[in-house]
């Protein structure tokens, strides 16, 4: 790593490069003129333009956390097979854009040889949208990349095969901030704390604004107090639900704890408007302890849910649509997941989640 001095005339506010510079000529030509698409193989799509032109997309799984070495590898592959044109997807896969059908297989072979599975299209499980975890965030209740790796290893065949009833989107967020936007995923893996903030009494008055801190707590669990004659705060532990909003505004309120941090699993969310309206994910498993390096209990839990879904859902039914068809009691029965007090909502809209009809399956 070397250091360059800042230039005299700073360039700012230029925004990103214009995307047109990066478009495959065939894409530029047929921009807005695509007619239909079809699946060529798992991970390979064929888009046909009104003009008759065709573009092939080969999608490969990526760990998202990429070294420049690997990015250079992708660049080399793109150059070799498709004139240097590639893109990444909204779920962090990489897509090579080919105008020559004959090059698909060689590219796939090379990708596979390099350890990058091809797939993720149609009714496969695509990449897991995820976050920083212990690699870069202070806020995390769990790691991100390690769990994603472990789960995707177990679901690898579901990435390379398109045989689920519908798309199945998994996301992971390492804390309640939910940067992984797990709240609308078929399966969501969410890091949770279970200990109230442990007040760093010495540093708190120095680094935090107490009124802001007190106001940050949604349950009013934080009250002002004095410690060693200096203004500080106290937490009423029974009122804490471990959201860490206090920690976000005040570094002296950490919540992480090796034994009490862990993972919760949520199911049945979706984003698309296809068939049913977008839905939030709902709680399936409140807590699984962190068990690095491979989180076997989390992997088993996810695989179990995927398998039960694969077996029971009807074609075109997303996870949440399937569960709504069979009812939540049956979901818990079929997956063998215990239903607990934690599943019953007690937050803002709790009242709308109680079963207010006699529609019951026995």
């Amino acid at each position: 790593m070397t250091t360059t001095p800042a230039p005299a005339k700073r360039i700012t506010d230029i925004g990103p490069p214009h995307y047109e510079k990066f478009l495959h000529p065939l894409i530029k030509k047929n921009y807005g003129q695509w007619k239909y698409h079809e699946s060529v193989a798992s991970g390979v799509l064929r888009h046909v333009a009104e003009s008759g032109d065709e573009i092939y997309s080969v999608r490969a799984g990526s760990p998202r956390l990429l070294s420049t070495a690997t990015i250079r590898l992708f660049a080399d592959l793109a150059e070799k097979y498709c004139g240097g044109y590639l893109r990444f997807t909204s779920r962090n896969n990489v897509e090579f854009l080919l105008d020559d059908r004959a090059k698909i297989e060689p590219l796939k072979k090379e990708l596979l040889a390099l350890g990058f599975p091809v797939g993720g299209t149609n009714n496969a499980i695509s990449n897991i949208v995820h976050t920083q975890g212990w690699v870069h965030c202070h806020s995390s209740a769990t790691d991100a990349s390690g769990i994603v790796k472990s789960v995707m290893d177990a679901l690898h065949d579901r990435f390379t095969h398109e045989d689920l009833p519908a798309k199945l989107r998994i996301a992971l967020a390492c804390c309640l901030n939910m940067c992984g936007a797990v709240h609308c995923s078929d399966i969501a893996i969410l890091g949770v704390h279970r200990m109230p903030p442990q007040i760093s009494k010495e540093t708190l008055p120095k680094v935090c604004e107490i009124p802001t801190l007190i106001a940050s707590c949604p349950t009013g669990a934080i009250r002002s107090a004095t410690y060693d004659g200096k203004p500080s705060v106290e937490v009423t532990e029974e009122q804490c639900m471990f959201c860490a909003n206090c920690y976000t505004v005040c570094p002296a309120m950490p919540l992480n704890d090796p034994e009490n941090d862990g993972i919760s699993i949520w199911v049945g969310g979706k984003v698309s408007n296809a068939r049913s309206a977008p839905k939030f994910s709902k709680l399936a498993i409140p807590f699984i302890p962190n068990n690095p390096p491979r989180w076997p209990e989390v992997v088993d839990a996810v695989v179990n849910i995927v398998n039960v879904y694969a077996k029971h859902a009807r074609k075109y039914q997303r996870m949440g649509e399937w569960i709504e068809r069979i009812g939540w009691p049956r979901f818990f029965e079929l997956t063998g997941i215990p239903f607990t007090r934690y599943h019953i909502d007690d937050f803002r809209y709790a009242g709308t989640t109680y079963a207010r009809s006699t529609h019951i399956r026995f």
Partner: protein
């Protein structure tokens, strides 16, 4: 070069298995960047202790910008001095995440020169994440980036880097040009992107159709989702072809239509377009036979966000339909009014969706000058607690009965 001495017993377990390994990536990077050894070391420690080792925050950045860099410091700098600072830069990606090999290599060059050589392609908001560098490398990295035509993305209380689905570049369903809109919004609001002036973050995401491949309805304060107004374009011959190939049109298509507005008599598919809610299902199943209509545009929705602190929100309908060619202008005008109201009335760390819930949608509409329409609600109110306005009542004085 990777220090032979770094113990990564636990992390090594994550090199096994068929899915590409992020541990391998870090190890690869450590071949050119020594900081990655310390990253591995600290991460191994986290794996042993089941606990992160990063300190909270720390404000760092490049001159004149209030966003784009996330400051990060190790809480065990004595053990891992190379990651004592380990800030990330958020680099605004090109719309649609399209690159050429050259562009990627340019980015790699810059990042190897100034940072860890580790990235996220991409971050959850869409940025290119340059993962880990020291404070005094920030300004030089930025200089190289801008020289190469790249700029930083957003962080903090700014407009965040807008993102979009692949749209018309490669999708037959895009009802407007998502990449263009995304690019233009980004350029229009460069100041708002780089210089925090809002109560909190504000995200735009542009999806070309209701499939919403960029999760805009769940993840952006302003979601622009393509749709159409006229009838679904239907190719009867192609329908027949799908049927001939074994698609069970009744069961797979019609029965899954949310409004049951499709009828199939074994030969002819009839769509009651008046009842269609543009869910995309039938089109998704038969892309050769059915296509969105020709009168295209988008629905503008407002207010999605993650749960902190009032609970997660999905965006809700603000303008049911804006023609494609009016989108940018409409959005600019609308966004100005929204930001004005939000900046004045939003509390610190209150997203616009939360503000709307707090002041009420009707008041919000008043403030931004939109008329209420029934498309904005799933259903009208079911409680009788109406704040009748003064002009409707005829106020009276006096001391009661």
């Amino acid at each position: 070069m990777a220090d032979e001495g770094v113990k990564t017993t636990l992390l090594d377990e994550l090199e096994k298995g068929p899915w590409p390994s992020f541990v391998k990536e870090i190890k690869k990077a450590s071949e050119t960047s020594p900081v990655c050894d310390d990253l591995l070391g600290q991460l191994e420690l986290s794996y042993e202790e089941k606990k992160g080792h990063w300190k909270h925050g720390g404000i760092v950045g490049v001159m004149g910008y209030g966003g784009g860099v996330i400051g990060r410091y190790s809480d065990v700098p004595e053990k891992f001095p190379n990651v004592a600072h380990f800030h990330t830069l958020r680099v605004n990606h090109p719309a649609g995440w399209f690159y050429t090999s050259d562009a990627l290599r340019t980015l790699c060059n810059i990042w190897e020169r100034h940072g860890s050589g580790l990235t996220n392609m991409h971050g959850s908001t869409g940025d290119i994440i340059f993962l880990g560098t020291k404070t005094d490398e920030l300004e030089p990295t930025f200089a190289d980036l801008t020289k190469a035509g790249f700029d930083l993305g957003g962080s903090g209380s700014v407009m965040r880097t807008p993102s979009c689905c692949v749209g018309q570049a490669r999708c037959e369903w895009a009802c407007y040009d998502t990449m263009k809109l995304c690019y233009e919004l980004t350029q229009t609001y460069q100041d708002e992107l780089h210089r925090p002036a809002f109560p909190y973050k504000y995200k735009f995401k542009c999806a070309g159709c209701p499939n919403d491949c960029v999760a805009s309805i769940a993840r952006s304060d302003c979601s622009i989702i393509g749709t159409w107004k006229d009838d679904i374009q239907q190719d009867d011959a192609a329908v027949a072809e799908y049927a001939a190939l074994g698609l069970d049109i009744q069961k797979d298509v019609c029965d899954n239509c949310p409004t049951k507005c499709m009828a199939w008599d074994g030969k002819k598919l009839t769509i009651d377009n008046h009842e269609c809610v543009r869910c995309m299902h039938c089109i998704n199943v038969m892309p050769k036979a059915l296509r969105p209509g020709k009168e295209r545009g988008a629905t503008i929705l407002i207010g999605a966000k993650a749960p902190i602190i009032q609970g997660a929100l999905l965006s809700s309908v603000l303008i049911p339909f804006v023609p494609a060619d009016e989108l940018l202008e409409t959005l600019k005008e609308l966004t100005g009014r929204i930001w004005e109201f939000w900046s004045e009335y939003g509390k610190n760390r209150e997203r616009v969706g939360e503000l709307i819930q707090r002041v009420g949608m009707a008041n919000f509409l008043d403030a931004i000058g939109l008329e209420p329409t029934p498309e904005m609600v799933a259903a009208p109110r079911d409680n009788p607690y109406i704040f009748f306005q003064k002009e409707d009542g005829k106020p009276k004085d006096g001391d009661g009965q």
